[in-house]
């Protein structure tokens, strides 16, 4: 199904108001926005940033675009994300934690009370906690910028699409495609586990270009053949258990209840 074209273009004269928020995460995606050193002034020329805790003090009542980083992992997160959703026209999930729950969702593999006791010890009753959730589990998310940290090129593509009122298409193909375009030797040819065949492209196969294997930070493609993936691993003499541990690094939320 084609997604409805959600854009933030308010009018021909007024600049879109942008707010940036963070939940449970490392703030690496926000840092990655501040890292747009060459483009930051151009970005500011297109929009008004009205709220951004990491970079400024101001607060705003309403926004055209909210970029939201991090997973939801406390009752307070749930309240705040509903509040943000009410105030914004467009909501963008920024990075692996916001899109898929990210590494936070690894805790969902253990009983929540056990996790709470391990992390907070005797003070655990001061810190209510929930299984980690992607934003889309609680509110409607209009667009995703994937990756850990979020892929900068994808952010800029979405940003210009929103400002111009253009359709944004999220890539839904395997990292293998970009590896072939970049003419990389297949990681399996080198005897290593690679999550590229089931992971969403859009990173220009960044890790494999530099001789690394794909760790799946951009999340699974929409229709991953996980049974086929197991056969690939087995036929290459690689450990299925190890590969599934790696798959859960970023996909623990999505793979809940799915077995190797």
């Amino acid at each position: 199904m084609a997604k409805p074209n959600v854009t933030a273009k308010p009018s021909a004269t007024k600049k879109p108001r942008v707010a940036i928020f963070d939940f449970t995460g490392c703030e690496g995606c926000e840092l990655n926005q501040l890292n747009f050193e060459d483009q930051l002034l151009d970005i500011l020329a297109q929009v008004d940033i009205v709220e951004w805790r990491e970079a400024m003090d101001d607060k705003a009542e309403e926004y055209d675009i909210a970029f939201v980083e991090g997973a939801l992992s406390t009752p307070d997160c749930i309240k705040r994300i509903h509040d943000i959703r009410r105030r914004t026209k467009v909501l963008v999930a920024l990075g692996a934690c916001a899109v898929d729950g990210g590494v936070n969702a690894i805790k969902n593999l253990h009983p929540i009370e056990e996790v709470r006791a391990t992390v907070y010890g005797k003070d655990q009753y001061l810190f209510p906690t929930l299984p980690a959730l992607p934003l889309s589990a609680v509110v409607k998310v209009d667009h995703n910028v994937r990756g850990c940290p979020m892929t900068q090129a994808e952010f800029l593509r979405l940003f210009t699409s929103l400002v111009m009122g253009k359709q944004f298409d999220e890539p839904d193909l395997a990292v293998c495609v970009e590896c072939k375009l970049n003419e990389n030797e297949c990681v399996y040819e080198r005897g290593m586990i690679c999550l590229g065949p089931v992971t969403r492209a859009g990173c220009n196969s960044h890790c494999t270009n530099f001789g690394q294997y794909c760790i799946g930070c951009r999340g699974l493609v929409s229709e991953p053949n996980l049974k086929g993936m197991n056969e690939v691993l087995t036929s290459h003499g690689l450990a299925v258990d190890e590969a599934w541990k790696r798959l859960q690094l970023y996909n623990a939320y999505r793979l809940q209840g799915v077995r190797a």
Binding site: M1, A2, Q39, D42, I43, A45, Q46, L156, R157, F159, T160, V163, M164, P171, D172, L173, A174, C176, V177, K180, L181, N182, E183, N184, E185, C186, Y188, E189, R190, G196, P197, V198, S222, E223, P224, N225, K227, G228, M229, E231, V232, S235, H236
Partner: protein, 340 residues
């Protein structure tokens, strides 16, 4: 058509001779066990004895990514980047990859001619090399042997002590001019031992495919297929592409880019409005194989597969096009014998 001999010890001298006068693209090591065509700067780095390169020479004429247009939205102007003939020598091309270039020449010159491809193709000169078939090559089954010199300006045939050199065109003579080569008149080795075969007369493949539309092999292959598109992207005769436009952060200047695409990818069959007309992986597998052995072949009378074995060698799920086709042949023959 003259024949000469190039001793193994003088191969790098010969490459240096080519480099002194021309831009040379040749196979180099890529990664631990693979090879790729690259621009040559060091004659020692060239590998003439290799099984297959990752991407065929197609990549020079139809680049993986290519800007088709630059535009400026405030001035409402557009500019087409200049495309020039690739004035270069392609050294060490295998016969199946040249056969693939000839097929692309056909695809891109019939109907609406593909200007960028045809312009780039113009300056290319080819020095072919023979190869020893490995466990994936089956070019012999589609009528292309490892010593086939069609389309080459010069051809190097592997010999125990070096290479037998055939000079085939005026361009070939110019490439060799100034480099001393000994005349050679012994007969050449002409035996190619393929271990992979498609067991059917080529003329009947179309019929076999016609009868196999509902064959169970498509669903069975889909079980293991990851739908990653690798088989399309490494195929030397696949030419499908996607076109996307993007703008810079100023929201004013942008470009239109073409990039390789493939029929195994779900998004490839998604059209305006969100309709996907080959939703199932099985249907996409069937389409891929039909594109090589039926649809274009019905028009041209030739298989559009050149037997390089890349799709099988590169498939992480180890899906073999030879096994698929042979199974269709076997089952269609069995069905016929039941009917008659």
């Amino acid at each position: 058509m003259a024949q000469y001999f190039l001793e193994q010890a003088r191969v790098t001298d010969f490459i240096a001779h080519l480099l002194a006068h021309h831009t040379v693209y040749a196979p180099h090591h890529r990664g631990g066990r693979s090879f790729a065509f690259e621009k040559t700067s060091d004659p020692e780095a060239v590998v003439l004895d290799y099984p297959r390169v990752l991407n065929a020479v197609k990549k020079f004429f139809l680049p993986p990514r290519e800007v088709l247009l630059h535009f400026d939205l405030t001035r409402d102007t557009a500019a087409v980047p200049k495309v020039e003939p690739i004035d270069a020598v392609f050294l060490g091309v295998h016969s199946y990859d040249l056969a693939a270039v000839r097929r692309l020449d056909f695809n891109f010159s019939t109907g609406n001619p593909e200007r960028n491809y045809l312009v780039r193709r113009k300056g290319a000169r080819f020095i072919g090399v023979s190869y020893v078939p490995d466990k994936h090559h089956f070019a012999g089954s589609v009528g292309i042997d490892p010593y086939d010199m069609t389309g080459c300006d010069m051809f190097l045939t592997k010999h125990a002590d070096g290479w037998i050199v055939d000079i085939l065109t005026g361009e070939g003579s110019e490439l060799a001019a100034g480099f001393k080569l000994e005349a050679h008149d012994e007969p050449k080795p002409r035996r190619a031992h393929f271990t992979q075969h498609v067991f059917v007369p080529q003329a009947r493949l179309g019929q076999v495919m016609e009868a196999s539309y509902d064959h169970p092999v498509w669903n069975e292959t889909a079980e293991t297929c990851l739908s990653c598109g690798t088989c399309n992207l490494v195929c030397p005769t696949c030419y499908c592409f996607n076109v996307e436009e993007s703008v810079g952060i100023d929201c004013t200047n942008g470009h239109r880019e073409r990039s390789w695409d493939g029929c195994m990818l779900r998004g490839f069959t998604e059209v305006a409005g969100g309709e996907v007309f080959r939703e199932k992986v099985a249907a996409r597998q069937r389409h891929r194989v039909y594109r090589k052995f039926k649809y274009i072949s019905d028009v041209t009378g030739q298989p559009w597969c050149v037997g390089c074995g890349r799709c099988t060698a590169s498939c992480t799920a180890k899906i073999s096009i030879v096994e698929i086709v042979n199974r269709l042949i076997r089952d269609s023959e069995r069905d016929e014998s039941i009917l008659t």
